[in-house]
């Protein structure tokens, strides 16, 4: 498996030199969605909370940077720490008010908060530009090029995956899984679930803001649809498509994002009925491959391991 990971990473490093310009743009979009999906799935897979409001954090990261760049002439990278801090603050406020709830109530409340934020951004013409958005916010230098942005996005995805893996294997990560498994038992060993879920929510939200920040560089503009519920739905679809419930829980969202963005690019080059195609893909997935794209690889990997064991036993 380590060999496969190294091979995938090497391929990703070479990819921009092998793809046409449009392909690099699609690859950047796939990386941004992959990182967003991994960040979202950290909360979903580890704590078992389905947020339908992660667009708020994605949009907060993008809009904070866009505002600093357009109104204060900050450079793209200088805006990054402030964008992350602002996103963390938004996540802290929404999380503080949401994480006491679970199941559908949590999902609906996060959706409501994100829609409220979208409405503010959509209507506050003096500050956010309203539905006209903030345009022409292009990073200077290397990051203004497709190759530069591709490698920055790749580095962010890899670093976020490594960070979340470290957290997942630590006592804090185990505590999150314990909350998902049995919150009553966790309280009975002396742990307050609230602060741990809130910390996970803020971490997941802040990292989502990082990929919103990258999305800004990709589209060189910020529009209210970054905060709209369809953006939250897109990341959920990427996770469902890839499969979230594996020991290596970050493989699924990455695979899902890659498939989703690639399929969208291919289908849209032939027809305008992408939503119909997406519906058919999801239908086929739920009916025939409920474990998602990563589930297929995982099954093939397990089968190969099993065959190796049989060969070994026979020898």
């Amino acid at each position: 498996m380590k060999f496969a990971t190294i091979a995938v990473l090497l391929s990703l490093l070479l990819l921009p030199w092998l793809l046409p310009a449009y392909g690099v743009q699609v690859a950047i979009q796939a990386l941004v969605l992959a990182g967003f999906a991994v960040s979202f799935n950290f909360l979903f897979q580890n704590v078992g909370l389905l947020s339908f409001g992660h667009a708020a954090f994605f949009g907060a990261g993008a809009y904070t940077a866009a505002l600093l760049m357009s109104k204060r002439d900050w450079s793209y990278l200088a805006a990054l720490p402030v964008a992350l801090a602002a996103t963390a603050l938004v996540a802290l406020v929404i999380g503080f008010l949401s994480v006491r709830l679970t199941k559908i109530y949590f999902t609906m409340l996060t959706l409501a908060f994100a829609q409220m934020l979208w409405a503010v951004v959509h209507r506050w013409y003096n500050f956010t530009g309203g539905d006209n958005g903030i345009t022409n916010v292009r990073p200077a230098g290397l990051l203004g090029t497709a190759h530069g942005l591709y490698y920055l996005s790749l580095a962010c995805v890899v670093l976020v995956i490594l960070l979340l893996r470290v957290v997942s294997r630590s006592p804090a990560g185990y505590t999150l899984r314990a909350i998902r498994d049995n919150p009553v038992r966790l309280a009975a060993i002396g742990v307050s679930t609230f602060e741990h879920v809130l910390a996970a929510f803020v971490l997941s939200g802040t990292l989502s803001g990082l990929f919103g920040f990258l999305q800004l560089a990709w589209q060189r503009s910020a529009f209210p649809d970054l905060l709209y519920w369809t953006t939250s739905a897109q990341v959920i679809i990427a996770v469902i498509l890839g499969g979230s419930g594996f020991a290596k829980w970050d493989y699924g969202p990455v695979a899902g994002a890659a498939v989703l963005v690639s399929a969208q690019a291919v289908v849209q080059s032939h027809t305008q009925y992408w939503p119909l195609a997406l519906g058919l893909i999801l239908l086929a997935l739920v009916l025939f491959f409920p474990a998602g794209v990563a589930g297929l690889f995982s099954r093939a990997h397990r089968r190969r391991e099993h065959e190796d064991e049989l060969d070994h036993a026979a020898a």
């Binding site: 957290v167 630590s170 009553v184 038992r185």
Partner: protein, 249 residues
Amino acid sequence: MPLLELASVSKSFDGFQALSSVSLSVEEGAFHALVGPNGAGKSTLFNLISGRYSANSGSVTFAGREITRLPTHRIIHQGIGVSFQRAIPFPSMTVLENVTLAVLAVGRRMRDPWRRLRAHRDAVRNAEEILAWVGLEPRRHQPAFELPQGELKRVDIAMALAGKPRLLLLDEPLAALSRAERAQLVELLPDLLRRLGVTLLFTEHDTEAVMRLADTITVLHRGRVLAHGAPDYIRSHAAVAEAFLGTGS
């Protein structure tokens, strides 16, 4: 001074009076049983002490400190270990990870997001020692969901003991166990808890096990204390024997 003292505790749910002015004292070192038929208020009382419910009136005092309104996680840090009736260990973790997590929780070391769980070697060693106490050391690397009910209950008790509690609360520890598993647990608990100096308060339906384990018994009936005393006294209490123990003397 009793280790645990309940003074005139009452609790109702939507007009149903589950507990009416219940007073109870648990002495340090005692093995104290709460018995009674279904609906007597045993589990309600258990949940009041452990902080899952809050009392409508009355007070709960542990080691001289009032804990009436504290949430469960704070009560645990006062020196009380809890094993709920249906609160089984975390199924996605191994037996050792479950108990290591409990050891770290007591030391408030759960917030560490950087070091691996198993890199907390002192906590892992401590957890292995606790698992040895309950005879589950050989099972330490097994996922919890693979364990039979009796062993799961022992993991749960190991987790409750991880905090070195002064008082251990067990809600129907023998429920859903096979006859052999019950015998094992009844055999294990007294020696282990006396060695550790842990006071025990437990609810249980199995009267035979109660008589073997407990040195003090409180009988609840319709949310009130019906009788209280040593097993011999309870056994010879005519109304109790006839109504609850089925051993009419």
